[in-house]
């Protein structure tokens, strides 16, 4: 694995690790108002999706899709949001976010302006789903390996 001194995703996990593959890890982003926010972080320090080989591009998106499918199956979000920016940390990572019409920012992106106050009851219900959700995430990602 190539590693760069000073890179936040080379030097730290970037969240609570849920699954580790030789080529990537999936972490819970631990954003307080967005419990259904995970990140897939590529192991090697590459900046852009197109820096991956065609084989690794396929693996990467199969893994992103597996997380998306687990979120849809367990949490039934209003929408899934996917994004790969890396303007601040230019180390390839995908944001995979379950969005709900009641969340603080909907329909704005996570990076946009808040639209309403926190719905503590629904947030708590969603947080309670995480153990089941993460079991399904691990199952789906484990199947990718075989």
């Amino acid at each position: 694995v190539s590693s760069i001194v000073g890179c936040a995703f080379c030097e730290a996990e970037g969240g609570r690790v849920v699954f580790r593959h030789a080529k990537f890890r999936v972490v819970h982003a631990s954003e307080p108002n967005f419990p259904g926010f995970y990140r897939l972080i590529w192991a090697n320090h590459l900046a852009e999706f197109s820096d991956l080989s065609a084989t690794d591009q396929l693996l990467c998106m199969q893994a992103v899709t597996a997380v998306e499918q687990a979120l849809r199956q367990v949490c039934q979000p209003s929408k899934i949001n996917l994004a790969s920016f890396g303007n601040v940390v230019p180390h390839l990572h995908w944001h995979i976010i379950a969005r709900f019409v009641w969340d603080t920012h909907f329909p704005q992106p996570f990076w946009g302006e808040a639209q309403r106050a926190v719905d503590a009851t629904r947030l708590h219900q969603l947080q309670n789903q995480l153990p089941v959700l993460e079991k399904v995430i691990v199952e789906k990602l484990t199947q990718l390996n075989t």
Copy 2:
């Protein structure tokens, strides 16, 4: 092609069409301060990336990657930003954006807060690259068909 009444991307192109494939189109987003902003819009009305078949997921990301590679080759951006949200228009589309350290929002996403004023000179230089860029986009996407 499945179509939904009232869907902005079923009823209109969503930008200036640069390339049309049977299963998707690529449009120039025509965002004034972001000339290097394209969208890949799936032809069928589907909400989520994981609603695509595995074959279409691969085709979709190969096309996104082709646009990304053309942007990198011609415009040499500081970073590429990719995103699929659809909170406002739940019809599968990918934002593919060439970002520059001098653009109004860097390192914030396009959807975040502006960081500085427009650099009219550099913006004009980038706009001047679009004809060459779009020739390369079309070449790369045409190769996907064969």
